[in-house]
């Protein structure tokens, strides 16, 4: 076991797969010579050379489109979209082309490609560089979507994404890049579609993603210690495929569901999970489903405002105390 930052674990995951498979190529803006604006790809150029690690013009449609064309003709590209907000400038390539090609061609076309992108708030960058848009991707049939919360998960899920025969978007949470954690030595390959139960409680089930997983865990400790409320915490990890079974089982045990989402409220992944639980787990529910999200506003830039916008530990604790009996 080595201790790595989330940032270094990203590079380690990419390197592991490039080492293993010559078809894996990597492209993006400022990723090669500069090692990425978040320093998540430092060393890849030196290690794998300029044929496999390529700097691109500011042309997100070309980057993602080229990844698509390369994937359908035998390569396994990893494309970086610097900030997840910029998925909007290539959304047609992602949502209309990549997501649909296999289906429309009745399976003739395979797209084993990965789009990695830095998601979420916390850097005081304002509304166009801080969004959590994993639900944009989740809403489009044909895309697989993961959002790892730890260094080990980001390495393992990147590797799983590269090996997957379908297009996968990996949402790396910006606010976690400098987080440290244990990462097993040697080859690490995770599995898409598996949630993880991080903590078992009796009174409610908190379902969270990425940064919110850590806040949920902290909140659960406080709830237990200070308020005698015992909470299960589930890290969703993979939105598509979704490990609905694990979530339903954990909610059934506690009778309460609380989702914690960094994204603005409307049509977030929490809504989808809430609707699944309200259908399939209805008779086990002891009370209303509670969603804790950012308010439905663009994200403000100033530190105090940004901090007060996305769900804090205090807000999670407060909401659960108030809403869950």
């Amino acid at each position: 076991m080595a201790e790595l930052t989330y940032r270094d674990a990203v590079a380690a995951g990419i390197a592991q797969e490039m080492e293993r498979d010559e078809r894996v190529v990597f492209l993006g803006e400022d990723v090669a010579a500069a090692g990425g604006v978040f320093k998540t790809t430092v060393g890849l150029l030196e290690r794998f050379g300029p044929k496999r690690v390529r700097d691109c013009p500011i042309s997100e449609q070309a980057i993602v489109g080229a990844a698509m064309g390369a994937a359908m003709t035998g390569l396994r590209p990893i494309a970086e979209i610097m900030f997840s907000d910029f998925l909007a400038v290539c959304w047609d390539m992602v949502a209309n082309e990549i997501a649909k090609a296999r289906y429309m061609t009745n399976g003739q076309v395979s797209l084993p490609l990965v789009i990695r992108t830095a998601n979420g708030a916390g850097s005081r960058f304002g509304a166009q560089h801080s969004q959590s848009v994993e639900n944009w991707a989740m809403a489009v049939p044909g895309l697989k979507v993961v959002a790892p919360a730890t260094p080990a998960d980001v390495k393992g899920l990147i590797a799983a994404a590269v090996r997957d025969p379908d297009p996968v978007i990996v949402f790396e949470q910006k606010s976690l890049y400098s987080m440290k954690g244990e990462v097993p030595d040697g080859e690490l390959v995770d599995e898409l579609g598996k949630a993880r139960v991080l903590r078992q409680g009796r009174d409610c089930t908190i379902v969270a993603l990425a940064l919110m997983v850590h806040r949920a865990l902290e909140a659960a400790e406080i709830l237990e210690r200070e308020h005698g409320i015992s909470a299960t915490v589930v890290d969703v990890r993979s939105l598509v495929p979704l490990d609905a079974r694990t979530i339903l089982a954990e909610v059934a045990k506690t009778g309460w569901l609380v989702t914690v989402e960094e994204n603005p409220r409307l049509c977030g992944w929490g809504a989808e999970i809430a609707s699944i639980v309200a259908d399939e787990c209805f008779w086990s529910l002891d009370g209303p489903i509670v969603r804790i999200t950012s308010p439905h506003v663009p994200l403000p830039a100033a530190d105090q405002l940004e901090d007060a916008t996305i769900p804090s530990v205090a807000r999670i604790v407060g909401t659960i105390r108030e809403r869950v009996d």
Binding site: A67, M68, G69, A70, T105, P241, L242
Partner: protein, 340 residues
């Protein structure tokens, strides 16, 4: 036979041999007949969705179809029946797809705007204007990376030159010196709007070539020999590592934009003038001038018609796709499950 001398002349009249010329003729005729059939089937309500015909533009698809290597790749648009067939995709598969039948190239899943036949290098028809230009660049990158000598050829319309993806793809392909040939079929219109009314330059593609460090190339898109020559040169250049080309082929869409369009916006006389320059009629005359016997061409036409008739019959006899196909092939595992 006394036609031997004439035949030689046909071959000698240019760099294109007679055998190739007859292939070019046959392919154009097949494309034409198949498009006409699609139109008839639509009138018979056997095609339910939309269709975008290439009537009048067949020379371009045909010339590239003949010039390309079997393992080269084609990327085309919703107006892609001809380009797909020109690579050898089955006519039954094409007509079947238009009719939404099980035998369709895409099993009815894609429809007329998404014809694809990967086994023939027809890597998809794309219905969102401009999207396939970056994708073609990506395929070319893959060929370059693997050193296979394959070339990606990407067809699109004049209207497509005004969308962002065009610009990004051309610059990207030029900077990476990718083996891709971009072919703009300038048929004077986007859907119903004349391209000249919405474009800052006279030649929507050639007028932009310099912006990507490329030579402007303009070709008469209704002269299959000319297109063939230009295609050969561009393909050779790409294969030799010389990077991308951007070709503007001037042509005309003899029908409306799609099945719903009577094309009333065309100025009087325009259609007639272009019909007089119909690529197939021109070529038939040229071949005869070069000494090819009319009955040879008649026979080619008859064979093409038979082929279309046969394909129509097979496609019509094919059942509609089973509804359980709806939840198939979203993923590589054949299924559509998004949860456990």
């Amino acid at each position: 036979m006394d036609t031997t001398a004439k035949r030689k002349k046909a071959g000698a009249a240019g760099d294109i041999g007679e055998e190739t010329r007859l292939r070019l003729y046959r392919l154009q005729v097949e494309l034409r007949y198949c498009e006409k059939r699609a139109y008839d089937l639509f009138l018979q309500n056997l095609i339910k969705g939309t269709t975008h015909l290439s009537l009048g533009q067949e020379a371009i698809a045909a010339a590239f179809g003949v010039a390309m290597r079997a393992d080269d790749w084609t990327f085309c648009t919703y107006r892609g029946h001809a380009h797909t067939l020109a690579r050898g995709a089955s006519m039954t598969g094409v007509l079947g797809e238009l009719m939404g039948r099980q035998c369709g190239l895409l099993g009815g899943k894609g429809g007329s705007m998404h014809l694809t036949s990967v086994e023939h290098g027809a890597m998809g028809s794309y219905a969102i204007v401009g999207a396939h230009l970056p994708v073609a660049a990506g395929a070319a990158w893959s060929a370059q990376y693997r050193g296979t000598g394959q070339v990606a050829v990407c067809f699109f319309g004049d209207g497509t030159t005004n969308i962002g993806a065009f610009h990004e793809a051309l610059n990207f392909a030029a900077v990476w010196k990718l083996p891709v040939v971009y072919v703009c079929e300038n048929n004077l219109y986007m859907e119903y709007t004349p391209i000249s009314s919405v474009t800052a330059v006279e030649y929507p593609a050639a007028g932009r070539a310099a912006a990507y460090g490329l030579e402007p190339i303009i070709v008469d898109g209704n002269d299959v020999d000319e297109v063939y020559r230009v295609a050969q040169a561009a393909l050779a250049r790409a294969r030799a590592g010389g990077g991308p080309s951007l070709i503007e082929a001037k042509t005309y869409r003899q029908s409306g934009h799609s099945r719903a369009d009577p094309a009333k916006y065309r100025p009087e006389g325009e259609l007639e003038a272009w019909l007089a320059r119909d690529p197939i009629a021109i070529y038939r005359k040229r071949l005869i001038d070069l000494g090819v016997a009319a009955r040879v061409l008649d026979e080619i036409e008859a064979e093409a018609l038979r082929k279309v008739d046969e394909a129509t019959a097979v496609a019509r006899a094919s059942p509609p796709p089973a509804v359980d196909k709806i939840e198939k092939n979203v993923w590589a595992n054949g299924g559509a499950a998004w949860r456990n």
